[in-house]
Point group: C2
Chain length 453, copies 2
């Protein structure tokens, strides 16, 4: 049995009903058993006007736990409805990283007001975390962690954990620092409980501790955590001093975010679109891709226009524009997808680019020969012109070779230029391939017609 | 500083050099400092003929740790080169889940031989794990975990951890079972170290433990772990008895695998392709998508053929085939991408499909009006026929509306039919959209030409 509660339509209807009736008691009875993540789902399914009442019914701590699980566009809308007093109470209950994310997303004026009204300790934490960009180690880290000096004993370390019990929700490793607060080792809780109380931490710690710098990109953080199967990773400043901790759940979010970003860049949609509720915003986000495709298509029309006389001779040549473009487009997308994913997961690095390109060319040649043969036969029979079929066949081989090359080379080149390679799977490369493919097809056929004439 | 070692070209060259000279001592000196995951990367960069020598130089435990980090196609090739004695030693050193994965991937005959030669305890574990499909909780779980009875004391629990110290590498939670081995609670190690030794586990455990059934799909496992921010999740059988544990690193792999699968299904490439070394296998995997596109394109040619007389009247109508297809294709891909990702991450559920479809139609109408206006103007000016421009404009609005609808409806319908919605982003939907778009464009224009005649 999975204990994950499923929000079904029946529960949703009953919740909506109790909100409409402003029946606080009934609503609480319905949602009392739900975990914060499930309640967050439920809130997302509600209409915007129904959501504030749910938060009015929750205690600050519970409200905070639910709020951080809600997708940003919906979260923003809810925060807009809540008053500063409620937000202040919520921020005080959150972990430092979640608090910083929440305050960082508020309009500057409101953020300032909240900063002034929270307790001193909370506002100090916010001041430390807010300067870091969201997509860096500093932006991901929390200030809640347990660290001890290397000279401490096991017993003293356990005392430290006991003192921080309430503040630090999850402790998996104990970080070890020297007298200058520099990170020098790590002890797993498993080792801590099984070692004698008088033993020195220095003797049981693992000095080969993996850490990330506070300015490291989130993609780098995720790849280090994933590669070495870590549960949490300490964050250090330039002097190697321990400043924070990033936990596995934040890393999982980053991995999923980065994967979604690759996918959505491919299609030209924004990642947060799923939870976005304004059609105008979605439209605005998608239009650049569409308009790029539109002008690419107009360029393609210009290319075709150059070959008008060939088309006038054999109108049926135009029948095959869709198949020519689809083949170039699909081949390019396949090659680009593998390159983009491989670069993202680290399975392709710039060390082995030559090997990758060579492999793609071999694959493109094979696929080109198979597809070229099929299309050549069909065109030859359709137009009762076996030579024309042969030249279409040849042009498809060239098109697939070219598209495979461009699809692989562009993401690799973008990576070298430190631009997100996922852009290569968008309409720009596809459109370029469309135009080149049409040029190859019409060019070779026209050359053939001229030679035959 | 990130302690992740980077495999640079210089190190790679020196390793290749020492392999060529069969210089075991030099090779060991070069790779001695590398962590298993880094050594795995290095091995993947080597030529197939160079790899076995590296494994000949490693101890069984080290060899096993490296082997499990290597991508399956390369791993398979290396296993093929190693003899049964070496594999037996490696299997004995691995955790039960990794051992089962490795043995499960061997040809049946070799797997049998290994099963017979490993120690009794290892072969018993393999017999328990091998029957579960790879993509279920049973296929992911390991048998190494720490569980205590609910009647035990904190002191006894710590003794249990001490006994299992070598066997269970990472302990984050202590699972609690009743006398019938049914899972009844969980204790974090943090709580364990901070509670008095005499206290009963029953009093400090959290009875609301989240678990998954042994037959649960890996996607479900990942979504539960992610949703509730777990580090590891206990696996139970139908009688709620504790049978295994899945850790966060395996879940991260699943999340990345599922995301990669979505992306690769979109493009029609296989997920493991990045590490695949046979161009023929890659070609075979990609050809179905290409050939589907090819025949779709031939169908499109058939559609165009039906409108030959319109094309003969105005040849320039064919110039706009690429732009018509690109617009339908891009719109459909955008809508499908959002639906597929939303379904995968759980942000779209079948509860709110109507809302999603309605949103997509509103977005499509906006985008259709913008793009239709631009294209209509260009066509009208180009062909000096403002009415023809208007009709092309109208047809683009209809095409974008249709593509947005199909792009959203198909993945939602596939999900309802329990088919992987990511298939909807492949060439089938794109090709369907291509054909319908051409039909709308040529149909409306032909109707207009007839009415005007």
């Amino acid at each position: 049995m999975t204990d994950a509660q499923v929000i079904d339509e029946e529960l949703l209807e009953r919740v909506k009903d109790s909100i409409e009736k402003r029946d606080r008691k009934h609503l609480m009875a319905l949602i009392d058993e739900l975990r914060p993540a499930d309640l967050a789902d439920l809130v997302e399914y509600l209409e915007p006007s129904e959501r504030p009442f749910v938060f009015e019914c929750l205690e600050p701590e519970g409200a905070g736990e639910v709020l951080v699980e809600i997708e940003p566009p919906v979260q923003e809308r809810i925060l807009h409805e809540l008053d500063n007093q409620v937000i202040t109470e919520i921020v005080q209950e959150l972990d430092s990283d979640d608090a910083a994310d929440l305050v960082g997303d508020l309009p500057a004026e409101r953020a300032q007001a909240i900063m002034e009204s929270v307790e001193d300790e909370v506002s100090k934490g916010l001041e430390r975390l807010l300067p870091y960009p969201d997509d860096t180690a500093g932006g991901l880290m929390a200030l809640e962690f347990v660290a001890v000096r290397d000279g401490a004993t096991v017993q003293e370390a356990i005392e430290t954990i006991r003192r921080k019990r309430e503040e630090v929700e999850n402790v998996y490793y104990l970080f070890v620092v020297d007298d200058a607060d520099r990170l020098v080792g790590v002890v797993s809780l498993k080792d801590l409980v099984t070692e004698p109380p008088k033993r020195k931490i220095r003797e049981i710690m693992n000095p080969e501790v993996i850490s990330v710098g506070v300015e490291a990109d989130q993609e780098e953080v995720a790849s280090v955590v994933k590669k070495y199967n870590l549960v949490s990773i300490p964050v250090v400043d330039r002097e190697q001093r321990l400043v924070g901790r990033i936990t596995h759940d934040d890393v999982m979010d980053v991995i999923e975010k980065e994967a979604s970003e690759d996918i959505t860049l491919m299609a030209g949609v924004i990642r947060q679109e799923i939870a976005e509720e304004s059609p105008a915003k979605i439209s605005a986000a998608r239009l650049p891709w569409l308009i790029a495709g539109l002008f690419g298509g107009i360029l393609a029309a210009g290319v075709i226009n150059q070959f008008e006389s060939s088309l006038q001779k054999i109108l049926a040549l135009s029948f095959f524009f869709p198949v020519i473009m689809a083949m170039g487009g699909n081949t390019g997308t396949q090659a680009a997808t593998v390159a983009v994913r491989g670069l993202a997961t680290g399975d392709i690095s710039l060390v082995n680019t030559g090997k990758r390109l060579w492999m793609e060319l071999k694959v493109a040649l094979m696929n080109g020969l198979v597809c070229g043969l099929i299309l050549g036969l069909i065109v030859g029979v359709w137009l009762s012109d076996i030579y024309l079929g042969a030249i279409v066949s040849l042009s498809l081989v060239v098109i697939i070779l070219n598209s495979g090359f461009i699809g692989t080379a562009v993401p690799l080149a973008l990576k070298k230029l430190k631009i997100d390679p996922a852009l290569a799977t968008g309409p720009f490369v596809t459109t370029t391939n469309d135009i080149i493919s049409l040029f190859i097809y019409l060019g070779l056929v026209t050359l053939f017609l001229k030679l035959r004439a």
